[in-house]
């Protein structure tokens, strides 16, 4: 029996049948080919611990210098934009929350603000304050993951374990408030799925008391460390001109020196009434982006504290019964669901309330035809929702301008001409979330 030569799996015949020996070991062959040329093409990813998710990089190398960096995406494409066109307006939140899975509450809020702009309504004051509150908690969690994975990819593994450990504190809070650690579907068109549960305010205050110390610990662990500084400084350089030309926003743009934060320049949800700073750096490199994110965590803590102070009792859903979800959610013995009171009302007391509930839940409300674009400042930059309605119970089109998608384009500009090790620093400092990139 003849066998063909396969460098990956040689085989031999035995009395038990053919036995394959799976080996790598083809590097010598590859290297022999490559020795005559200076150019080596290396494929990194999509399954690679340093590429920040299912991202694939095709790098042209000359020695250790990157001459060309190409980015291949799409491995996490789930067609969420198309999916929303076949669901009603409320169901949309459960889809968009799954895109950028590290900042679900920003996705929900951006989407709901767009739907509310189309409807011409505004959520009640308490709902707006709680939205700000949960978004800023979410920003802290997201930045902690950014810093943790940054640490991991740079080889500072304690940074990773610490970052994820502190993030658990925020996720516990979000779980207490919304019922879920991720993919909350907490923000709904017109308000919120439910009010803050009892005890949540105390838990958040406790968190605010402990957390500044944890941020200081993080600084003590990484910021002063010479290896950390050497790896980050001058890596992934991109100045303001480059950022604007490539559409890069968020901490990366602010680390280049431009204090462009939509919470300040185009305020929404009353951000203009909160007292906070927009941290910037002037280094335009990975080091500056690290410092900006660390500083933003502190600013978010300030906003959370202010939001807690101004929480007034009141409704968390618009009064308009044609839009508002008929019931508030509550925790029953069998899990989260419509409140027992509401179920008793529609099942036992009012036929009209039952019909109303049924129509609103199965058919949903109608949104007047038109289109809007609503941008908000997510942890990664401008998160824009372009939502088109044709006047029916479902979106005609939802396009998401995801900051990760746009920022990732800067990879080539940041890494070509540099060392291969700095490619990792550059991508980690962009903090792309592939769920948002591929949607």
């Amino acid at each position: 029996m003849s066998t063909t030569y396969d460098p990956y799996a040689g085989s031999r015949e035995t009395t038990e049948g053919r036995v394959y020996t799976v080996t790598g070991g083809d590097w010598d062959l590859t290297f022999a080919d490559a020795q005559d040329q200076d150019r080596l093409v290396v494929n990194m990813g999509p399954q690679h611990p340093s590429t920040h998710g299912v991202l694939r990089l095709v790098l042209d190398l000359e020695g250790e210098t990157v001459t060309k960096a190409r980015v291949v995406i799409g491995y996490l494409h789930t067609g969420i934009e198309k999916n929303t066109e076949y669901r009603n307006w409320v169901q949309g939140t459960t889809f968009v929350t799954r895109m950028d899975y590290l900042s679900p509450l920003f996705n929900e809020t951006g989407y709901c603000l767009a739907v509310e702009k189309l409807l011409g309504i505004e959520a009640p004051q308490r709902a707006q304050t709680i939205r700000v509150l949960v978004m800023e908690l979410n920003r802290i969690a997201s930045h902690l993951v950014a810093l943790a994975t940054f640490g991991m990819e740079m080889g500072a593994l304690t940074g990773m374990t610490n970052g994820f450990r502190e993030r658990e504190m925020v996720l516990d809070l979000l779980e207490e408030i919304t019922g879920l650690r991720m993919n909350h579907a907490y923000v709904r068109p017109g308000g919120l799925a439910q009010d803050l549960p009892e005890g949540a305010v105390d838990s958040i205050r406790e968190f605010l008391r402990i957390f500044p110390k944890r941020v200081a610990d993080f600084h003590r662990l990484l910021t002063g460390q010479p290896i950390w500084q050497n790896r980050l400084k001058d890596a992934g350089y991109l100045d303001v001109t480059g950022c604007v030309a490539l559409g890069v926003t968020g901490p990366v743009l602010r680390a280049a020196g431009l204090p462009w934060d939509l919470r300040k320049v185009e305020p929404y949800l009353g951000y203009e009434t909160y007292d906070f700073e927009v941290p910037t750096a002037d280094t335009s490199d990975a080091w500056g982006r690290y410092l900006v994110r660390m500083a933003e965590v502190n600013e978010s803590l300030k906003i959370v504290a202010q939001a807690l102070d101004r929480l007034e009792p009141g409704p968390v859903m618009v009064e308009d019964r044609k839009i508002a979800w008929p019931a508030q959610l509550s925790l029953g013995p069998d899990g989260m669901g419509n409140s027992a009171q509401h179920v008793a009302h529609i099942m036992g007391q009012s036929m009209e309330a039952l019909i109303h509930h049924f129509k609103l839940v199965t058919e949903g409300f109608r949104v007047p035809a038109g289109q809007v674009y609503v941008p908000i400042e997510s942890p990664r930059g401008e998160l824009g929702y372009h939502v088109v309605s044709d006047g029916s119970t479902r979106p005609w089109r939802v396009h998401v301008r995801d900051p990760s998608f746009v920022n990732l384009q800067a990879t080539a500009a940041m890494s070509e001409g540099g060392m291969i090790a700095d490619v990792i620093a550059a991508i980690a400092s962009l903090d792309p979330v592939m769920g948002g990139v591929d949607r």
């Binding site: 995406i73 799409g74 494409h77 067609g79 934009e81 198309k82 076949y86 009603n88 702009k117 189309l118 011409g120 604007v244 030309a245 490539l246 559409g247 890069v248 926003t249 431009l258 462009w260 320049v265 185009e266 199965t362 058919e363 949903g364 109608r366 007047p368 035809a369 038109g370 289109q371 809007v372 674009y373 941008p375 401008e382 824009g384 372009h386 088109v388 309605s389 044709d390 006047g391 029916s392 119970t393 479902r394 005609w396 089109r397 396009h399 301008r401 998608f405 746009v406 990732l408 384009q409 591929d438 949607r439």
Partner: protein, 246 residues
């Protein structure tokens, strides 16, 4: 979404020439082809300012919209502006310029570079397929594919929208990557999802779907698959053919 509703619309006697010139809704209660015998199913209601409203907002537009429009006219000249901008729509505090594709690059250049305009940042480029929304049944050569550009002026803190409509038979739009390098991936995505060809793009390839994929998934007439389920060979029909409220 084509369905039994189209039949009603044809019976209602709307051809392209006499169709209501705005976004419109059928039926008093959104009913279409559901066996509604009340007669309200054939009702057509026009919604001014709709998603695909075909009217134009009259000047003055209000606020800074007039300032930007005047600056744009100054930058490109009245005759070019008249030829380039087919109509302008102000709705919900946002301004949309509907632009003829051959003048898109002239306008984009002026919008980015003119001192009174300074739209430095191209926030987003995407597509919308207005297959049968807000108009009569799809006639061939109807400009159903819209390219939507959202431009941001960081200097003046303003946002505008440019919209270019093309037909599915001739889906060519000039690429703005030479003016806004960030449009690179946006245009690749729009090509991938809607099949709009951006002339002058450096490498217009698919970006989210696999390279060998057939068709453009976010077009409204892209066939949707049903879900096979393991129960006596049953299937769940594609979402656009399921019984549903519209």
């Amino acid at each position: 979404m084509t369905g039994p509703g189209d039949l009603e619309r044809d019976e209602a006697g709307h051809d392209e020439a006499t169709a209501p010139s705005g976004g419109f809704r059928k039926g008093a209660f959104g009913v279409s082809g559901s066996g509604d015998t009340s007669g309200f199913g054939g009702l057509v209601r026009v919604e001014p300012g709709g998603a695909v409203a075909l009217h134009s907002t009259e000047r003055p537009y209000g606020g800074w919209f007039d300032e930007v429009t005047d600056a744009l006219i100054d930058a490109v000249g009245q005759s070019t502006y008249d030829a380039a901008v087919q109509r302008v729509l102000v709705d919900r505090g946002e301004i949309t310029y509907f632009v003829a594709r051959k003048h898109l690059l002239t306008l984009a250049h002026a919008l980015r570079d003119d001192e009174a305009l300074r739209f430095e940042l191209c926030s987003s480029v995407s597509g919308v397929d207005y297959l049968d929304s807000g108009g009569p049944a799809v006639a061939p050569h109807r400009p159903r594919l819209h390219v939507v550009l959202h431009l941001t002026s960081m200097t003046y803190r303003r946002r505008i929208r440019l919209e270019v409509a093309v037909t599915a038979e001739d889906p060519h739009v000039p690429s703005v990557t030479g003016i806004y390098p960030t449009a690179d991936w946006h245009e690749r995505e729009t090509f991938d999802m809607f099949g709009i060809v951006f002339d002058g793009h450096p490498a217009l390839t698919r970006i989210l779907m696999p390279d060998d994929w057939d068709g453009h998934p976010q077009r409204k007439d892209y066939p949707l698959g049903g879900v096979p389920v393991e129960y006596h060979g049953a299937t769940i029909p594609p979402p656009d053919t399921r019984r549903a409220y519209r």
